[in-house]
């Protein structure tokens, strides 16, 4: 299981109710279910991935987060997880609002467009950056709204969403993001992980 999922699962206490939005093949769901006795549901747009999840005995609904989150009642999950997909929605703001409506808390991770490799790629090659966490060409990427860790922090602040925990993941190193080190983390982190609530 990738490091990101370990970090996410460490943020969630045992026996909670969790919705994994864009749960893909259910790796995180399965880990939460088996190791933390989490009552976990998934929402996934790909039929193939939904089938994989069913094969693992996971409860998954085929659907689109931009349309199908509205069927869940307010605060019906302790945590709603969204891993590296916020930037792929037509309207990330609406999805974020929905995550915080459905979940008492939300865990959102974003690939950091402010990472130095990304910056150098654009600066020196003059082409859209291709990195480990951004592997697709500009024309085939699902990402519509790329942002940096700093962008996301500013966005969260502007929406008066409470940041309970903000973490930076750089290779396998995990560290806290603070007001003081935001510039550095925004330069070196591959991924930002945010535990938020409203």
């Amino acid at each position: 299981m990738k490091n990101e999922f370990k970090v996410i699962s460490d943020l969630i206490e045992d026996n909670k109710k969790v919705l994994d939005v864009g749960c893909a093949d259910g790796t995180l769901m399965q880990f939460l279910k088996e190791n933390k006795n989490i009552n976990v549901r998934g929402l996934e747009i790909s039929k193939e991935k939904v089938q994989e999840c069913i094969g693992k005995g996971l409860t998954v609904i085929e659907g689109n987060a931009e349309k199908d989150l509205k069927q869940f009642p307010d605060k019906s999950f302790d945590y709603v997880v969204l891993s590296q997909t916020l930037q792929a929605f037509l309207s990330p703001e609406l999805v974020l609002d929905e995550l915080l409506r459905v979940g008492k808390k939300a865990i959102v991770t974003i690939p950091n467009f402010g990472n130095w490799k990304v910056r150098l790629h654009l600066l020196f090659k003059g082409t859209m950056p291709i990195t480990k966490s951004l592997p697709e060409q500009w024309h085939s990427t699902p990402n519509l709204h790329m942002c940096t860790i700093r962008d996301f922090v500013n966005f969260i602040k502007s929406k008066e969403i409470k940041m309970i925990k903000t973490l930076a993941l750089n290779n396998n190193n995990i560290s806290n993001i603070t007001n003081n080190n935001l510039g550095t983390k925004n330069l070196f982190a591959d991924l930002g992980i945010f535990l938020i609530e409203k």
Binding site: Q51, G55, G57, T59, V60, Q71, P73, S76
Partner: protein, 376 residues
Amino acid sequence: MNTEKNIKILIVKKPLKLDCGKTINNFPVAFETYGSLNENKDNAILVFHALTGDQFVTGLNPITKKDGWWSFAVGPDKAIDTNKYFVICSNVIGGCMGSYGPSHKDPETQKTFGTDFPVITINDMVNAQYNLLEHFGINKLFAITGGSMGGMQVLQFITNFPDKAKTVIPIATTSSHSAQNIAFNELGRQAITADSNWKDGNYETNNANPGKGLAVARMAAHITYLSKKGLQEKFGRKLQEREDLKFGFDADFQIESYLRYQGSVFVDRFDANSYLYITRAMDYFDLVKQFNGNLSDAFKNTKAKFFVISFTSDWLYPTQENKDIVIALNSIGADVGFVEIVSDKGHDSFLLDVPDFLNALKNFLDKSYTELKNEK
């Protein structure tokens, strides 16, 4: 119409009050089983059949001598694995494969009921079938499942008996029969009653058979079970055993010949009055209305695990109608999974060899059964 010796019958002694207000008692429910019930009696799956199905789910149907209607899904090592599970299916009341229906005799007058048989609802059907649980001494079914009208029975069963099934799998169905579907059913009923041999439903006593009307009803319905794309690919404009058009009204096109064949074989195995009664039951089905507009309330007392399945090319019970069930369940935090299967085979997809569907069904059942075993 029935060869009684091949039909297992449970006589229900308890009176059953029907939605129409009448009460029936000492009535037959015909059923069939596959596989064997284990010692704990926790491996039973109750399958509900659709409009023209019967209790003979799989293997050779001893009456029609054809394969059972769900042979692709049910059997040893299949999606519903009869090596593992005990499958029960019964003929719905109002039907014509041994359960109490319009071709039975009225015990009071000793005359064939015909249209004097009380109008049956989906609710009545599942209440009648519930007696099978007592018959087999099953406290809780492992699963209930069915497609189309079978799916309606699934929804009604878990509503009426919320703690009697562990897992619930409605397939290609709806919680409220749509205007379009009522319209198609009405077309079928009109075809039957317009046949001069129908004789106000008393064709048996008049030695008549409204076969033409019933065949037309079946032909019209059959079109709705397929998709435009599926029809086009299978038949296109291909001609039936001829080089050119004949400038007449014989079946020039293969699709015409196919529909005529479907109509004619249906007449041999199905009763016209039963067709009226069962389509009426489907039309009356409105679980949303039963709960005053809030479908979620139907499921609020159950802890069952749901898995809803729809098909992309099903325009009779489209994905959205299946999703409405999912939405109602989610809004009360029920345990519900959902998948839409890609298939060009229309509404009939659930009856056919559609691997993605059969795999999903198998995986869901087998994983859920393993979980059930681990709980103990």
